[in-house]
């Protein structure tokens, strides 16, 4: 991409320009190299490590190059074209959706409701998703200034690195989309409910302006949005959508002009099926957290952190890249939580927190969603514990969040024989013990270290000033009265939520900023919606809400082409 081109195209927004300049695409390196002096300027600005070219490049294979052209990216091998004689069957639809998740299933149903003949191809044996809550803005009960204030808040949450147009698109369309998902999932048998505004209590006023929300809740656990999408898929089947399970997409079908005509998938029998899409292919393949090399390259921060998902190998990223798409620049946004080990409502409460060994490591007013940044090393690998004593119900009563009484904590204790309800039984990890040393054993910390940490913490508390980490005095409560409690959390990667460059129709853009005909990207594969270090928890359920909304809009858009 030459500088001249930017000057010619006044319509290209700042976000798009930035991604084209610094992101990773098949053509960015070539066109920069051809750009002469302007390109040299870009090279100078690049902060990517430049590996010696070709040092570890396997012979005879073509690989992607880093955006400065210096490094060979072994995780993006050029796909070997599948010849027509290898194709066992060719099927033709208007719209082909790849991936049956929280954006793919809504996209398919939305396209079908708008008259399209739709196929969904899915790697797994059924629709899959994670989490419970997906949110939207209720326009009827929100002030316009409030919506804009929320948009500004979300842009700030993303460290001002997102595409504001996409945030606005979510804000103004999500209420309708989330309501639609609730209605259609119920038709498929889902117990989903709209929790409305009360669950969004921290953002009922934004900058003083009133807001209302539509908050879909697929739950309680073990029922999740995965079950919800399976119910929604039933509605989609009734609407004529054909689902092809255990059919991973292998490569896109493109003509010489670069238009995407369809996608080739591999069935469980090892045979290829070509799905032609008259109107467009919508990739909704999710993130790439289980593709180690791709993760290490784009989000090295999570190198040692555990993954929550399986088989999220970034297939759609590779396909879109080779079709001419552009990865958002390095430094992708990550989402790491643990709402399962103990009550979710206590996860941000500023109890004493200790790392895996038992050392205090942070001013505990830092939210759980950010703690991964302190625990990125191989030893901690996202593990930490919240520690409190039996006075917690009274001493922490004024803190934000919601305390669960001792009887309720038993629901999160693997060692307690009580039957578990509304939790993932295999993930609960809350413990109680009569001494700090016994508690340390249960939370898998070092007893002597934890005992020393608690002693020191109690000194700090007694002094009334946190001279170690500066936590506010009203967040200091001692750990002195047995029994002692520990919630051993381990934040793991729920999602990586940066993606590839799209416009407001969620159509993939190439390195010239031009739409790639026939190719649409939604869900966590779609770029531009985040950009910060971590996924923001401002709007509870933003991630799924965005997936539903962009699936709903994109399915409709492509069906009407």
């Amino acid at each position: 991409m030459s500088q001249d081109h930017f000057q010619e195209d006044q319509e290209t927004d700042q976000y798009t320009k930035q991604v084209i300049e610094n992101g990773l695409s098949r053509r960015s390196f070539l066109s920069r190299a051809a750009g002469g002096a302007a390109a040299a300027g870009l090279f100078g600005l690049s902060s990517l490590p430049v590996a010696a070219a070709g040092t570890s490049e396997p012979k005879g294979l073509d690989f992607a190059k880093s955006s400065d052209g210096g490094a060979t990216l072994s995780f993006l091998p050029k796909p070997k074209p599948i010849r027509d004689r290898e194709i066992a069957e060719t099927l033709t639809f208007d719209v082909v959706v790849v991936g049956a998740g929280a954006s793919g299933v809504p996209a398919a149903l939305s396209a079908a409701e708008n008259g399209a003949k739709v196929a969904v191809i899915q790697k797994a044996p059924f629709a899959l998703s994670q989490g419970n809550t997906g949110s939207g803005v209720d326009l009827a009960t929100s002030e316009k200034a409030g919506i804009e204030a929320l948009v500004a808040r979300l842009i700030a949450d993303s460290n001002h690195r997102c595409n504001p147009k996409l945030i606005r698109q979510w804000a103004y369309n999500s209420g309708e989309a989330v309501r639609w998902v609730i209605d259609r999932a119920r038709q498929g048998g889902s117990p989903v409910v709209d929790q409305g505004s009360p669950v969004q209590r921290a953002i009922l006023k934004v900058n003083g302006y009133s807001m209302g929300y539509v908050t879909s809740f697929f739950g309680p656990k073990p029922y999740t949005t995965g079950d919800g999408m399976r119910h929604l898929a039933k509605t989609a089947e009734k609407a004529g959508v054909r689902f092809f399970y255990r059919m991973p997409a292998v490569q896109l079908v493109q003509n010489k002009a670069g238009e995407v005509l369809g996608v080739i998938a591999k069935g469980p029998n090892g045979k290829f099926t070509k799905f032609l899409a008259k109107k467009g292919v919508i990739l909704a393949t999710g993130d790439y957290q289980n593709n180690k090399a791709m993760s290490d390259y784009f989000v090295p921060d999570v190198k040692h952190l555990e993954r929550k998902q399986l088989d999220k190998t970034g297939d759609g990223f590779a396909m879109a890249y080779w079709a001419g798409g552009v990865f958002e620049p390095i430094g992708h946004t990550k989402m790491l939580h643990d709402f399962d080990a103990g009550p979710a409502s206590m996860c941000d409460m500023p109890f004493l927190a200790v790392d895996r060994k038992g050392r205090r490591f942070v001013n505990e007013t830092v939210e759980m969603s950010l703690l991964n940044n302190y625990l990125r090393d191989a030893e901690n690998a996202g593990h930490y514990s919240q520690i409190f004593d039996s006075n917690y119900m009274t001493q922490a009563a004024a803190w934000p969040g919601k305390l669960v009484p001792p009887e309720g904590l038993k629901n999160y204790m693997p060692d307690d024989p009580s039957p578990k309800k509304g939790v993932f039984e295999s993930q609960v990890n809350t413990h109680v013990a009569d001494t700090i040393e016994e508690l340390a054993v249960k939370i898998e910390a070092d007893p002597a270290t934890l005992a020393a940490t608690v002693r020191r913490y109690n000194e700090v508390v007694a002094s009334g000033k946190d001279s170690d980490f500066g936590k506010p005095a009203d967040r200091l409560i001692p750990v002195v009265k047995a029994p002692f409690y520990g919630i051993h959390r381990r934040v793991r990667v729920s999602a990586i939520c940066s993606g590839m460059l799209v416009n407001e129709n969620h159509q993939a853009l190439n390195a010239d900023g031009k739409p790639i005909k026939g190719l649409f990207l939604i869900g966590n594969l779609g770029g531009g919606f985040y950009g910060g270090v971590d996924y923001p928890l401002t709007v509870f359920g933003l991630s799924l809400g965005r997936c539903y909304t962009f699936g709903y809009l994109t399915g409709r858009h492509v069906a009407k082409l």
């Binding site: 044996p125 073990p222 469980p268 090892g270 929550k308 993930q427």
Partner: protein, 126 residues
Amino acid sequence: MKRSIVPKPATALLALLLVTLSGSGLAAAGKAAKGARTSKHAGQGITCAQCHGKSAKKDVVPMQQCLSCHGDTKDLAVRTAKVKPTNPHENRHFGTEADCNRCHHEHATSENLCLPCHQRFGFKVP
């Protein structure tokens, strides 16, 4: 090196014998023998070709191949329904369709795919 030196059908034992007799020169036979040495099926009179086919290019064995002898995974899930703490063959990630090879490896030590996330699912995987 031509693949034709691999006896067809090659029993594991024969392949092993061949490579022993002929030294290190026979790469193809050596490869077959290595596979046979690590194979858990080899001792039961099952040949390489029964899973891998006879083609010179040895493709990844699809799961269907496992099922052709071991039967449907739904039946397997019924047989392990009472395994504690949970039925490994029917789960929320794959239903009854998990690829056998994700846990049960033919040429390597088997692994417990559940364990990294579900730390109390301490299955022993044959």
